[in-house]
Amino acid sequence: MNEVLEVKFDGWTTTPRLPFVLSGNALCMTVPSYSSLLGLIGCCLGRIVSHTEVQFGFHYQYSTTGNDLETRQRLEFDGRMVKPHAKGTDAYKREFHVVSTTDSAGDLQPCLTLWLNRIDWIDYFRYPIGTPALGRSQDLLHIRFDSVKIMSVEPVSTTNVGGCALPFKSGMQVAGQLVQLADAYEEYERIGAGRKPINPRVFINLSHETNQEVTMANLFRTSEGQSFYLHNWQ
């Protein structure tokens, strides 16, 4: 592979939620999961995108975290049907990321950069079908038209990366947060029958502040000098 499609997103807030912490309050991971980003890509394409269709890498950065106190319209499943919770709404504290930073000209800086091996999808990101959001429905993202471009890349064996998630193997010399995440989720054929996690495994999330040297497969450097890990679902 010597070319990728580079897409830059900017916005005000995002919520890359830490999974499996549902009760009490919601926390954020330092970077979003691959399954969330697959959903984001699908939103731009206007359809469900399977992990078999694309490989991608990303760089994510945020300025700080904030907390929202939200009213939840609670639901309850009684074994037969989903219905409003008998005790009504509740207050819920939810962590989110503030991603808005501006450059000297006052333009918003990208919070998320994707590098996809599908350069034929360029128009889907220049003219996205859905409205991309990362996390909650209010965490809208914006794509600058001229930030969607084809970029030449070269493979490298060792480079510095940050603001991404790497598959973790015991003994790896990197500092970050370990998380157990599925690569993707697949809907069962029957509508409403739930979803199946694809390849759950251990990732280490590297925040953007820690640009760390790693040596592994699937590392690339763009012609503009930015390095990334291309996740290939293996």
Binding site: G24, H85, L178, R195
Partner: protein, 670 residues
């Protein structure tokens, strides 16, 4: 059957596995389902305790699993359900099947719901109630995992619980055996450095075991709640120091959470690799270690210490105060180097030495002996430090290049000479140094290739050219009352364009800011007070700021007016001839000082220019500019003093160039 070859990515599951490792005394890759079952029935391998019994006694259990699980919520069947359920899960562990556990990646075919229903039937739970009982995976079995009862909207399609291998729920039951508190909630240690978290958990297991086995077999076991972030970090540092391999990258996260009732909550403190490395560099040194330990064990200051070290900020706890003598010089210097203040240490020590050399009266001595002198009376401390520096400069013990090297804002123009960030450091050394300490003057740095160096060199060069000894006014204590503009008009206009002088002395609101410059000039002049001032070449100004577009437009208006006036003076009044001496005598010397006189002069000149030229040539030389445009600066403020300075500067510049050319004072900045 071996269940796990490696840890998972789930912090709770990993901590539970590490608890089991500590109990079993073997690594995770050797622990099979039989070992788990044995540990469930005999966790301390002493034949005296069971996990069920311990979990009923441990106060932390309900913080993990709430009171809604069978162990605490069902007096009749609860204990039997709990024992039977965990035993049957551990006796029938699967690693194949259609389901994939989202927490561990293990595959299985018998769900927790099935095990639960079978258990209920076997322990004689009333059949009529079985269907109505919630048997799904929820936070009674896995902390914070949510449940269909109240967190349904956060679960897939609001009607599916998360897919979890039943053995993970059984493994989680061991977690209370390593539970300690952090910020009043339960602690989880989550680290990519697995050995570190494993050893921390093993410590906690020993701690809980000693408490659980000390009292009566049925007495409740209180939570261990005396520890803070500093304590856990200290333990981590100890572990890292004892490791043979030097792990340069070690970050970990301290979770504090509770799953108790309606108060469920979770927060994660991230301890970055850089902070750990900084702490390790202090901890590794045997002479600094006791201080690190003292600070990290002190619950009042350890949090601020860690925050400041992480943010690379100065820390108040290093300094003496009424409760503490402060840290040693050795520790202080190591800390300051870590936060990037290493270069200033030599200066601070030297300034403290100069401060102690100065002769002070009794009250001043008393003031300096206060631990909080710089903050208790900032103005007095500032004046005393400055006095000591000026005194040292006159003895050639302090150079102006030293002075500009310790400014708070060396990149600020107009010059800001504040050095207050040094004060705490200076005062630390003042209190800590003894008379025997050998303090040497720092080497004089070369600052000529820095912005601040160029800025002050421009003034030093102008001063060196002054034949009237105007500069002596800056030597005395009333140096702040001296206006640098007359010297600049008289001498600076020979060498530098108005833009240069303007940017060095005027801020964005067109206010003259010369306080900082005067401080540095005073040091410079005192340094040379016994000899003549050095004669410098014209200084480079390439690093100096350029006025912005609004400022430049206003300066250009003044330039246009000066050009017109020169043309009027030469062509209108003197018929194309210009006498250098007369120009000086008639134009430069009589320039008015008073605001009213300046505006009057401008009005008169504008009118005369128009009348005189019309009369002589029939052409209109009436200025394109009205006097108001000159008298009101670009901020809209009535500012005749500035208009006078700028016009005087430009006309002097023209006068100085008369010997070279008689054509223009315009410098192409239009």
């Amino acid at each position: 059957m071996i269940l796990f070859k490696d840890y998972t990515g789930n912090a709770m599951l990993n901590n539970a596995l590490q608890t089991i490792e500590a109990l079993a005394g073997q690594g995770i890759s050797n622990i099979d389902a039989d070992t788990l079952l044995k540990l469930f029935n005999n966790p301390y391998r002493d034949g005296l305790h069971t996990l069920t019994g311990l979990n009923k006694r441990l106060k932390s259990y309900t913080m993990f699993f709430s009171k809604n699980g069978p162990l605490f919520n069902d007096k009749e069947f609860g204990e039997a359900i709990y024992k039977h359920l965990i035993t049957s899960i551990l006796s029938n562990v699967e690693n194949e099947g259609p389901y994939t556990c989202e927490l561990s990646g293990l595959r299985f075919k018998t769900t927790f719901e099935v095990f639960y229903e079978q258990t209920l039937r076997k322990v004689g739970y009333p059949a009529i109630k079985i269907n109505g009982k919630d048997k799904t995976v929820n936070r009674c079995w896995f902390p914070l995992l949510g449940g269909l009862g109240s967190d349904a909207q956060a679960l897939p399609q609001a009607k599916f619980a998360l897919t979890v291998h039943p053995v993970c729920l059984a493994i989680l039951q061991f977690l209370p055996l390593s539970a300690v508190l952090y910020k009043s909630n339960l602690l989880l240690v989550d680290a990519s450095n697995e050995d570190l978290s494993k050893r921390l958990i093993a410590d906690h297991v020993s701690l809980i075991k000693s408490k659980a086995t000390a009292g009566a077999a049925t007495s409740s076991v209180e939570n261990i709640k005396d520890y803070t972030k500093g304590h856990y970090l200290l333990r981590a540092l100890n572990i890292l120091a004892s490791k043979e391999r030097d792990d340069t990258i070690t970050a970990f996260n301290l979770w504090c959470f509770t799953n108790s009732g309606t108060g469920a909550s979770c927060e994660i403190d991230r301890i970055p690799s850089q902070l750990i490395n900084d702490l390790r560099s202090l901890y590794k040194n045997p002479s600094l270690r006791p201080t690190v330990e003292g600070i990290l064990k002190n619950s009042k200051i350890q949090s601020d210490f860690l925050d400041n070290l992480e943010g690379h900020l100065d820390f108040y706890g290093l300094y003496p105060n009424k409760n503490s003598d402060g840290v040693s010089i050795h520790f202080y210097e190591a800390y300051q180097r870590l936060i990037g203040n290493g270069e200033r240490l030599g200066y601070a020590k030297y300034v403290a030495h100069l401060l102690s050399k100065e002769e002070w009266n009794k009250n001043q001595h008393k003031f300096l002996s206060k631990t909080d002198a710089p903050t208790s009376d900032y103005a007095l401390y500032k004046s005393m430090v400055y006095k000591a520096l000026v005194g040292a400069a006159s003895r050639k013990e302090w150079h102006w290049a030293h002075h500009v090297s310790i400014l708070n804002s060396p990149d600020k123009i107009p010059i800001d000479s504040t050095i207050s960030r040094m004060y705490r450091m200076v005062h630390f050394y003042y209190s800590a140094l003894s008379a025997e300490d050998d303090v040497v003057m720092p080497a004089i740095p070369d600052v000529s290739n820095q912005l601040i160096g160029q800025a002050v060199n421009v003034f030093f060069q102008v001063m060196g050219e002054d034949k009237r000894n105007y500069s002596s006014r800056w030597l005395g204590s009333r140096y702040q009352e001296v206006n640098p503009l007359p010297l600049l008009v008289r001498e600076g206009s020979r060498f530098y364009d108005l833009d240069v002088v303007y940017a060095l002395l005027f801020d964005l609101e067109n206010r003259q800011i010369a306080y900082g410059l005067r401080d540095i000039l005073r040091v410079y002049l005192n340094y040379h007070h016994n000899s003549s001032l050095p004669q410098l070449d014209v200084q480079p100004t390439n690093l100096l700021p350029i006025p912005d577009s609004e400022q430049m437009a206003y300066l250009n208006k003044l330039r246009d007016f000066a050009n017109e006036y020169v043309a009027y003076y030469r062509d209108g009044r003197n018929k194309g001839k210009l006498d250098e001496a007369k120009f000086r005598q008639h134009v430069l010397l009589p320039m008015r000082q008073d605001n009213f006189q300046i505006s009057q002069w401008l009005n008169n000149v504008t009118e005369n220019m128009a009348g005189e030229i019309n009369k002589l040539s029939g052409q209109s030389f009436a200025s394109a500019l009205s006097s108001e445009e000159l008298l009101y600066d670009y901020t809209g403020r009535y500012n005749p003093a500035f208009a006078r300075f700028a016009l005087e500067y430009l006309l002097n510049q023209f006068y100085h160039q008369l010997t070279l050319t008689l054509t223009t004072v315009y410098y192409g900045n239009a």
